[in-house]
Symmetry: C2
Subunit: 297 residues, 2 copies
């Protein structure tokens, strides 16, 4: 997805928020805004939003000297999501269509913004949020394509988004295993180093992903999946994958034009992304791209 002019104010906001999360002083926050504006003024117009965010967040980490401002937030997010795990497992077990339920849950995990606070969250409120997501229709509903692809494929690559959401991804992966009659290899790709509250290796481990998938790192410290910033090893995994499930907005932003068999699972929270997807803000999206039936791996 290209960067729209509407993203410019948002980058400024992101720089400020990331600086504050890293404990930057007022002067440092001001400096971060000045550096962000310098970068925005130098853009060539071909960058995706996460590519620009990559430069900004790396700059924030370097100048503040805090390499993982979201460490505590991520740990708390995972704990809170794990507390929901038995309940969401029951939801899938009781569902008429367990795959549809698990896909909705995977998007629900993307809806709950675990990163908002490190304070203990009201479990009842979190459950309400999950129930609301389950009751919402998919505005773009390519579940049928995903289901068909799963009947032929023996390998799935899941691209993670945030910590906490990882627990919901685990439930989706468990449903994928249950849904196929043949053994399924699932790889779960996390960031190579911290960026925002995106899941890294430790966050995936804490969510118990290793029990259901092979955790792989993309080697990058950018949000989404900027292939040029990933390791050659990851790029090979990506290019060979017969089915890629990409979670969250940043993966959509970075891969919407990629030539790979993709299913994007996200909530379109940002107006610019919603417009690009072609759905109203707040929509639940399960959108398949470049998946051709019968060509599964």
């Amino acid at each position: 997805m290209r960067t729209y002019l509407d993203c410019y104010p948002c980058f400024m906001r992101q720089a400020l928020d990331a600086g504050r999360m890293a404990g930057a002083s007022d002067d440092m926050q001001h400096h971060l805004l000045l550096r962000t504006m310098e970068h925005l003024a130098s853009l060539e117009g071909t960058e995706t939003p996460p590519e620009i965010g990559h430069v900004i967040h790396r700059m924030v980490r370097r100048l503040t000297g805090v390499d993982d401002p979201f460490r505590e937030v991520k740990a708390v997010s995972t704990c809170q999501a794990l507390a929901l795990y038995p309940w969401i497992k029951d939801l899938v077990a009781e569902a008429k269509d367990s795959l549809a339920c698990a896909v909705h849950l995977a998007i629900a995990g993307n809806i709950i913004d675990f990163a908002q606070t490190t304070a203990p969250r009201d479990q009842a409120a979190l459950r309400d949020s999950v129930r609301e997501a389950l009751a919402s229709p998919l505005t773009i509903d390519d579940l049928g394509i995903l289901r068909a692809a799963l009947t032929t494929t023996r390998e799935v690559l899941v691209l993670a988004d945030n910590a906490g959401e990882t627990v919901f991804d685990r439930v989706l992966i468990e449903a994928l295993h249950d849904d196929t009659t043949q053994p399924l290899t699932v790889r779960y790709a996390v960031k190579g180093a911290p960026v925002l509250n995106d899941a890294t290796w430790d966050d995936a481990l804490a969510a118990g992903i290793d029990a259901v998938a092979e955790i792989v790192t993309n080697g990058s410290d950018a949000a989404g999946t900027i292939l040029e910033d990933c390791t050659a090893e990851f790029r090979e995994i990506f290019e060979r994958a017969p089915l890629v499930i990409a979670k969250g907005q940043a993966n959509y932003e970075t891969l919407s034009e990629a030539s790979a068999p993709l299913v994007f699972l996200l909530r379109a929270k940002c107006p610019v992304i919603a417009r690009d997807v072609g759905a109203p803000v707040g929509s639940l999206i399960c959108e398949a791209r470049r998946i051709f039936m019968g060509a599964g791996g």
Copy 2:
């Protein structure tokens, strides 16, 4: 009020919105953002937000060649508010405390963002919005101070905010006249030239303000009241006024530190302003500053 770092992303948003309202091309919108960033990078740190907005909006008007992008929006806003006029007059007439009702209505006029669209607005929805404002308590309630000041003063200066809101101000001014036993001189200050959807002379006339107050211009094309940018004539009116009722956020931003007997009427819509006022976002504010009882003019 000083400018906070949180205002920086908002200035970018304002430049983009104003450019679009003026029909700027994508290239021009990009240019406006670059120029806005240049200006933000050159700030000394002593400017109020409307002082910065002043430079940005003047730049947008100059570069787009559109000197009043909100002309149509303002005309439609005034028409829509005038359609409510008989009904809000009835509300005041039926109220137990007509001044309290009129003050609430004057803030309700500030709540309804008439500038959002030129499309005909649902009158029922507008009435709901007004009723909601009437039912909301004032988070900062200096109505008693305003009431006391009105018993001794014979002159009031009202600083206008947006077109449309002007009709609600007219109802407030009518209530001020009804509330005092002695003849009251009311001056209603509008912008000297267009900025955003702020009321100018024509907008005040269209709202029928001339029937209840002497319309005066502040001579400035900035939002709020930047005294140094106003005419000497207006500054004299301001300095002599024994009671100033200042409408909306921009007047608060520019005059919160002014040495004048002020009553601010606004809804704190912006988180930065709400924090500065010391009230939650969305609060209805009637805040008196530097009004000393018995010193009325």
